[in-house]
Symmetry: C2
Subunit: 194 residues, 2 copies
DNA sequence: CGCGACGTTGATTTGCCTCAACGATTGTGG
DNA sequence: CCACAATCGTTGAGGCAAATCAACGTCGCG
């Protein structure tokens, strides 16, 4: 078997499974070992899977009509990642997803999830709660964009993700904050003077 | 009985219930008839309920530290509304919710929902799917704030909510778009010249 | 070593904000 | 039902935060 049972228990922690259930889940997961810079999803592709990030770092980004990239989110250990808008409706992605470090992921398809929800109702609860957290973080993001300056958003960013600056490039952070690399550079300078 | 069974079937359409299940759901819902300008939730209150909008129009807004209001969302017929971040974690609201037209709502508490999810698992699926849609719309909102100008955001707004301008004030729309009423006025003028 | 990717700095422009004043519309009490 | 006030939307002048455009220093890697 290529997936350890302990991994299953780690991914779905706080749920207790029977051995049979663990085997069932294992049969639905596919482990992926990817090197830095690998694109796992491109715009226009039909989205049939989501990914559990066991290790490494990825980002979801959107390319607008002028060709500019906008980072929607970063995903690190214990996050799930996909283009969810497209995943939920089995439709075409508008987002791209790439690794920005080498990464270990576990992929699961939507149809597998639907099967599992019937066999193991606790999993539906598990994913509903994950969704609730993601929803809350998107809400905070919207409120930040409405109420905060670029400098304030940057400060909350480095507060929320304290070690991420070692991992991601400044232009990724800038595209997440909705500013240019030049502006981010000036904000960083300003903060260093405080 | 103060709630018609047909209302239950309308709220949870696409689910088929036994009579007993309908009675159970009915016992958990509370009908509210509110006049325009009623606040149903304030920041700092513990959030224990969400509301189904049967008729009318409401908005959820956030007051920032400088006292400025920012509208997070409008809710019309067939939407659910609450401060979800606080609702999910049974914690204190950061949002305010008010009616901007007279409205008919159905309130349900979190504990009632948890009970119902156990008795009627289809309801968990129903709310999970509602959540997925809300999540998708928040994602679009974030992408719009990253990639679009105020004018473009306004044009997609009136495209998404074609009749809402009769209902909501311009300063509500401005606070939803993240601009001032003056800027919105100038944008509207500019569009009328096209 | 040399090249490309990345970050910084400067000069200038621009989209939106702020402050202020003024019409238009809506609501209310006499 | 009209008069008046309050609320709401529009317009103008000036300012500011962040974008754009351009140049340059630095770092890591083939």
């Amino acid at each position: 078997m290529d997936i350890e049972k302990s991994i299953i228990l780690e991914i779905f922690k706080d749920i207790t499974f029977s051995d049979k259930e663990v085997d069932l889940i294992e049969s639905k997961l596919k482990k992926l070992e990817l090197k830095k810079g690998t694109t796992i999803l491109q715009a226009e592709e039909i989205v049939n899977s989501q990914y559990y990030v066991y290790d490494g770092c990825l980002r979801t980004y959107f390319i607008d009509k002028s060709g500019k990239e906008h980072t929607l989110q970063f995903a690190i250990n214990d996050w799930w990642i996909s283009d969810y808008t497209a995943f939920f409706t089995a439709s075409k992605a508008i987002m791209h997803i790439e690794t920005i470090q080498k990464a270990t992921l576990y992929r699961i398809s939507r149809t597998s999830m639907e099967d599992l929800f019937i066999e193991i109702p606790q999993l539906e609860t598990f994913f509903r709660k994950k969704m609730e957290k993601a929803f809350a973080s998107f809400q905070n993001r919207i409120l930040a964009s409405l109420a905060q300056s670029a400098k304030e958003r940057y400060l909350s960013f480095i507060n929320t993700y304290p070690n991420i600056e070692q991992t991601v490039k400044n232009y990724h952070i800038a595209s997440y904050l909705g500013i240019t690399t030049e502006s981010l550079s000036r904000i960083r300078k300003e903060i260093s003077l405080d």
